[in-house]
Amino acid sequence: MAQKLDYLKETPSQTSGPYVHIGLAPGDAGFDIYRQELGRDIAGAQAKGDRISVRGKVLDGTGTPVKDVLIEAWQADAAGTYPGCGEVAPDFRGWGRVIPDFETGEWSFDTVKPGPVAGRSGIMMAPHITLWLVARGINVGLTTRLYFADEQATNLNDPVLNLIEQDSRRKTLIAQKNGDSYRFDIHLQGDNETVFFDV
C-alpha cells in the first residue's frame, strides 16, 4: 500500500439534452427572462478586424441535420490576442453561442477573423476558431477547430493541423469560402467525420 493521492475527480459529463436552450439561450426556447442573454455577440460592431460570417450545419451519421445542437465559439481577436491574455480590441468578447434554425438545422454567426496565435513553444498557429458542441445524444461536449481555406500558407505550418496524420481528415477543419461567407459543416460520423479533439 502507498499513501493516498488526494486529487478530486472531475465531475462526469452528461448530455445537455434537447432543451439546452432554456438554460443557455432562453429566447430561442421561446421565452424572455433575462435582461440580456450571454453570447449574442462574439465581436461587437466596433471591434476591429475583417468582418466575416460563417454558416453551416451539424450532421449526424445518417446525414440528417442536428437541429437541437448548441455551439459555443471561442477565438482570439484580429491581432491574435485572447481575452484574459492581454489587451483585446474594444467591443470584442471572443466568445459566443450559436443556435441553429430548429426547422433546418442551419446556423450562422458573425465575427471578425481571428489573427494567428502563438501555440506551444511559440510556434504560430494559423487563424482558427474553437467550437464546442453540445446536444441531445452527445454525452461529452465535442471540441473542434475551424480554420480558413484562404489561409493556405499559415495552415500548412499549423502545428495542430499537422498532428493529423491523414490528409483527407485535415480538410474537415477547413471552412470553405462561399461568396461573402465561410461554409463549415460538421460531420459527427461517417467518411467525412470531423476531427474532434481531446484537449
Binding site: F31, Y34, L38, G137
Partner: protein
Amino acid sequence: MTQFPDLYQRDREWHPPAYAQNYKTSVTRSPRKALLSLETTPSEAAGPTFGHNDIDPLDKDLLRNYAKTGDPIGERIILHGRVLDENTRPVPNTLVEIWQANAGGRYRHKKDTYLAAIDPNFGGCGRTLTDENGCYSFRTVKPGAYPWRNWVNSWRPAHIHVSVFGTSFAQRLITQLYFEGDPLIAKCPIVNTIPDQRAINQLVAALDLNATVPLDSLAYKFDIVLRGYRSTYFENRPEGN
C-alpha cells in the same frame, strides 16, 4: 502574453463514452474515430470571463425570476455547493447556469409537448457567479420526473442541468445533477452511460438539512469539480526548443 499551466488530462473512462447503445440518440451522434489528443495551447487554456454586469441578482432565484402572479408550484428547495478543481482549489467568479423542468416534469420549451402543465410562474433557468470561495446557490422547485422516447417506457429521474465554465475553455462542462434517494436514477439509460458507479454517485446531490430554511425550503448540496492544473516543478526544456 499570459502563460497558463497545462491541464490534467481528462479521464475519458470516468466520463461516459460518446457511443452508448442504450441511450439511443447517441448511436448516430457519436464520433467513431479516435479523438485527436492535443496538449494545451492558449486556445484551450484561455477562456471567456463573466462579471456582475452580465447578470442580475434575481437570475439565481427561480422562484421569482419568472413569477407573474405568485410563486411556482412545487417543493421549494435551495441548491448550493462549491465549484472546485481537481486540486481542491475553489474556482471563484465563474459562471454557473442551470435549467430544469417544472414540478410536473414539463419544460418551458417550444419543442416540449409532454402533457404535464406549464407553470405560468416558472421559467426554469437560472444563473449566478461563484463567490471568492467558489460557492454558489440557487432557489428553485424540485423538478418532476418525466417520460421520454428511448425505450417505450423510459423515465428521466428528477434532474437539473448544470453548465460551468471555469478559467480555461477546456474546463467547460455540462452535466446533470440528480437527487439523493430517487429510485429512477439506477434505471436511467442516460445516467447509465457513465460506466463507473462512483462517477454516478458524484452526480447525486445530497439532502443537506444544515442548509434548509426551516418552515420554508429543503436544501440539496452539489459540488462541481473541474479539471485541475499541472504544477511545473522543473523546467526541462528552454522556451523555443
